[in-house]
Symmetry: C2
Subunit: 161 residues, 2 copies
Amino acid sequence: MEYLLFAIFLAACFAAGSTGGLFPPGAWYRALSKPRWTPPDWAFPVTWTVLYLCMATAGTRAAVADDNAIAMALWSLQIALNGLWTPVFFGLKRIKLGFVVLAALWLSVAVTMLALWQVDSMAGALFAPYLLWVTIAGALNGAVWRLNPEAAAAKGDTPTA
Amino acid sequence: MEYLLFAIFLAACFAAGSTGGLFPPGAWYRALSKPRWTPPDWAFPVTWTVLYLCMATAGTRAAVADDNAIAMALWSLQIALNGLWTPVFFGLKRIKLGFVVLAALWLSVAVTMLALWQVDSMAGALFAPYLLWVTIAGALNGAVWRLNPEAAAAKGDTPTA
């Protein structure tokens, strides 16, 4: 059963991550001023693949443990938030709203890590790299906001028009 | 604890549902030919709000039951897929890919309903209206595809450019 569980959690991760392929960084992002420490584009899918394997492993370990109800609910919450950032940032080009989404994701990942830790310390530890990466992503989004005040003030795309 | 669980599952639902507010139907959608039975725009957020309450209740009931690992993993998978359709359809204006996303969502909701049913029959029953609505949404997406072959063949928006 653990392989099946792992496959389902991994599918949930890649469903959220598919937004990265659907809304890739384009000319708009390349033209923005970015801090010197910005990771190269290729680092994002590579890092996310490793993180998704960790997240699915953590979900699997917690799912078969006792007293896991809160941890399982939080795992669902963080994956629902995980897929939001890319459509908001690269799709709508809304830099400030992207930062708000990342702040919500960061909070949900931190609380999920604590809840997982209570259920299974290894599951909690497997969320630590994820929290670190979302921290870096949040710092990058914040720096892009600061370095590009005009782009951040623009409403971005209005795909409804 | 059940109120906290319910609040977390409901937050996950509204995180996925927030894409409906971020990528609302606009002039492009209004201009498409639609079948006569297309629900009015206002029906979508109203229906989704009711469905989210049902889905969060089902998640809460299953989370506190025994032998719920597969059901909890599947609940995560369906919510990760739930937030994908709106950015693909209204954001990217990709009608065919939207249909593919709905097909994947339909399958995940059906399997989740069966897994929930095994854990708690009421939890499974609470997913039935959700499956019905995704069936209607899939039929609508399919009809829009059939009625608008040129819009469906177009690549849609390329927000990367």
